[in-house]
């Protein structure tokens, strides 16, 4: 177990290092460095900036150093939560991200729970009642869920709720609650606003998992042990839940890491379209404004989140399923 853990940890550290390198390359690939952008901003306000000033600032910030020195400094800072300074926000990058990260995490977790909570029962139902009306209805919904781009679903839901329910979906709280103290009503308001982003983000993943669950249960239902259990007089419900479903859950649960990657991957666009105060709009606006220190930091954090999440889910699986061999 310890060998397995240390191997996985070493592998995770290596992946994180690679990811940090990729993020740094993206930061560096943007045209113009921080000193130039700063000078352009100053010049726009009427201050007189000479080339010598820019050069002096470069030396002060270490921008004249070779790339690996700069990378080392960036990485060292990143490990302390210091990702540099966002020129668009005029604040430290770490601070801006820290404000919005909790919401992104909340939505991601809620989406994961939603996906499994919906897909497992629906998958079981579709497998047991194969070719029934419900099975067809769910599989049509699944096909649609896979085919509709996230942002379009978000737009349609926005439009519907605006048009027919006169409810503001954009943002996280109804206007009255925004600055109110935390109360039960405010939590309810928050949950009501979370439904749309979670549904939008989770639809295609749910569709995918439902299909996988249906196929897995169908496979198990045809096995001999089910027949013998039925022959020994186990009630259908008991039999179903105790054996085939438990067996079928394993392959579904083992893709948790991929699901997490998928959710984190899709979250920025959904957050952007729904105008949530999370990292989504932050990331896309940073890209559109070429505020690369912020964008690079976010890419690094998104990747780190999924890598750590995958690691944790792998560990959980090993604990859950004793058949997984520790090599």
């Amino acid at each position: 177990m310890i060998r397995f853990l240390s191997r996985r940890l070493a592998y995770m550290a290596l992946t994180l290092l690679l990811v940090s390198l990729v993020s740094f390359v993206i930061i560096q690939a943007a045209p113009g460095d921080y000193a130039e952008i700063f000078a352009a901003q100053k010049a726009a306000t009427g201050a007189i900036i000479t080339l010598a000033d820019i050069e002096a600032m470069r030396i002060e910030l270490g921008l004249d150093q070779p790339w690996y020195v700069q990378y080392g400094r960036w990485l060292a800072g990143a490990l302390h939560g210091d990702f540099g300074y966002s020129w668009a926000w005029r604040r430290p990058v770490g601070e801006v991200i820290a404000e919005r990260m909790p919401l992104t995490l909340t939505i991601a977790f809620a989406t994961l729970i939603f996906m499994y909570a919906v897909s497992i029962p629906v998958g079981i139902y579709s497998a047991v009642r194969r070719y029934s009306f419900g099975d067809y209805a769910f599989s049509i919904a699944g096909y649609l869920g896979l085919a509709i781009p996230n942002f379009l679903l978000a737009l349609v839901l926005l439009y519907i709720s605006q048009q027919y329910f006169h409810q503001s979906v954009g943002g996280l709280f109804s206007p009255g609650y925004e600055n109110a103290a935390w109360s039960w009503a405010k939590v309810q308001d928050l949950l009501a606003h979370l439904i749309v982003p979670v549904v939008v983000l989770g639809t295609s993943g749910t569709a995918f998992l439902t299909r996988a669950m249906r196929a897995a249960v169908l496979d198990e239902l045809n096995k001999m042990y089910v027949l013998s259990a039925r022959a020994s007089g186990l009630s259908p419900m008991q039999l179903l839940l105790r054996y085939p479903v438990r067996m079928a859950l394993n392959p579904i649960a083992s893709t948790l890491g991929w699901r997490l990657t998928y959710v984190i991957s899709g979250a920025p666009i959904v957050g952007y379209v729904l105008a949530l105060p999370d990292t989504g709009p932050l990331f896309l606006n940073a890209l559109l404004n070429q505020d690369m220190l912020l964008a690079g930091a976010l890419i690094f954090i998104f990747c780190a989140l999924t890598i750590i999440g995958t690691f944790v889910s792998d560990l959980l699986l090993v604990l859950l399923d004793p058949r997984i061999r520790l090599e």
């Binding site: 085919a147 781009p149 737009l155 105008a275 999924t306």
Partner: protein, 378 residues
């Protein structure tokens, strides 16, 4: 479906009777594929899209860049058969519209004018165009003689959404086809090398694939797309975006190629080929590839919708293709703000094209997956 003895069959019907024992593998696959109704339906839909892409000028109503100042941000005009007095018309028609200024918002809106009836016709003469840039023509699939028809309405600058959506089929499917082709070549080459040579190279490739799979790729592609210089020509951006998107799809294919190669390279027929003096390239291309080509086709069909959706999302955000290139995502860019879809919800119609195309690709992919292994019974 297996009919082995057919003594009474006439020569004509004998051709229709299936002989699984004599059929080639491709024939078996086709039979199995045909049983998948949705997949056949998907093929038909994709065929229609192909026709749309090839003959966009004739299927659209006018030039895609033509602004109709008489109908700006106008709602879709639905063809009707029964008029306001309940009279049936054999020829479909649309009612005329007249501009009215909204007394509250002071915006121009359009009111249906039931006094005016604009009849529609098939294959009407309209604006001249050059098909494929060469063949001159002026016949359009449908249109009106008097007045105008905007089937899906117009956007805030008076551009016809139907015509633009039809033309956008080209860029959207073009990006998908080229992107899939590139990722197919990448996947086959990298996976092939890893599987055939094994050893260190195999380890390295597998680690890279695992790495790419373990990180959220969409933010990464967004960043790469955002880094493309803004002053590149639309064509250069188009090509660059295609390449970026094709980096999405290759990992699945590479894995399939690798695992199939690993499974088959120990087979006797490979050994026989090697003993007869075949080169590595010949063994791979003549003996190994054909033995699992069907699985590759399945994986390729899965990559299509993925790339199509990614392109649409990128363009929708303003980071992918840009005007004057038209793709469905570029058209949806206009529907970005809640205010614009509140005023003109029909701006979302190009999204329906995306959904239908992805559905069709998924259906075909499902059919192909079933057919890829024609010997399995299910």
């Amino acid at each position: 479906m297996s009919v082995i003895d057919v003594p009474a069959a006439t020569t004509k019907s004998r051709r229709k009777i299936r002989r699984p024992d004599l059929a080639s593998q491709w024939q078996l696959m086709w039979w199995k594929f045909k049983r998948h109704r949705l997949a056949l339906f998907g093929i038909v839909v994709l065929g229609l899209f192909l026709v749309m892409a090839l003959f966009a000028e004739a299927i659209g109503i006018g030039p895609p860049g033509q602004r109709d100042t008489a109908y700006v941000a106008g709602p879709p005009m639905l063809p009707q058969l029964i008029d306001a007095e309940g009279k049936f018309h054999l020829r479909p028609f649309v009612y005329g519209v007249k501009p009215v200024r909204d007394k509250v918002s002071l915006r121009m809106t359009y009111q249906v004018d039931t006094a005016q009836i604009w009849e529609l016709g098939l294959f009407v003469k309209g604006a001249p165009y050059r098909l494929f840039g060469v063949v001159p023509g002026d016949i359009h699939l449908f249109g009106t003689d008097k007045g105008f028809i905007h089937l899906f309405g117009t956007d805030f600058t008076g551009l016809d959404i139907y015509t633009r959506s039809v033309h956008a089929t080209r860029a959207s499917l073009g990006v998908a086809v080229v992107g899939v082709l590139v990722s197919f070549i990448l996947g086959a080459a990298i996976g092939g090398a890893a599987g055939y040579f094994g050893g260190l190279l195999d380890d390295l490739v597998m680690r890279i694939i695992e790495f790419i799979r373990s990180i959220p790729t969409l933010p990464l592609w967004l960043a790469l797309a955002a880094l493309l210089p803004r002053d590149w020509s639309p064509l250069a951006t188009y090509l660059a975006i295609t390449v970026i998107l094709s980096l999405l799809g290759w990992t699945w294919l590479a894995r399939t190629v690798r695992s199939k190669l690993l499974a088959t390279r120990q087979e006797d027929f490979v050994l026989a080929a090697r003993l007869s003096g075949c080169s590595d390239t010949r063994i791979i291309t003549r003996h190994l590839l054909p033995s699992f080509l069907s699985y590759l086709i399945v994986d390729t069909s899965v990559a299509f919708p993925e790339i199509l959706l990614a392109e649409t999302s990128l363009s929708f955000l303003g980071l992918g293709l840009r005007e004057p290139v038209e793709s469905w995502g570029v058209l949806l860019f206009a529907a970005q703000s809640i205010r614009s879809i509140d005023q003109a919800p029909w701006l979302m119609i190009p999204g329906a094209f995306v959904i239908v195309a992805v559905l069709a690709f998924n259906f075909v992919g499902d059919g192909l997956r079933d057919a890829a292994d024609p010997y399995s019974r299910s």
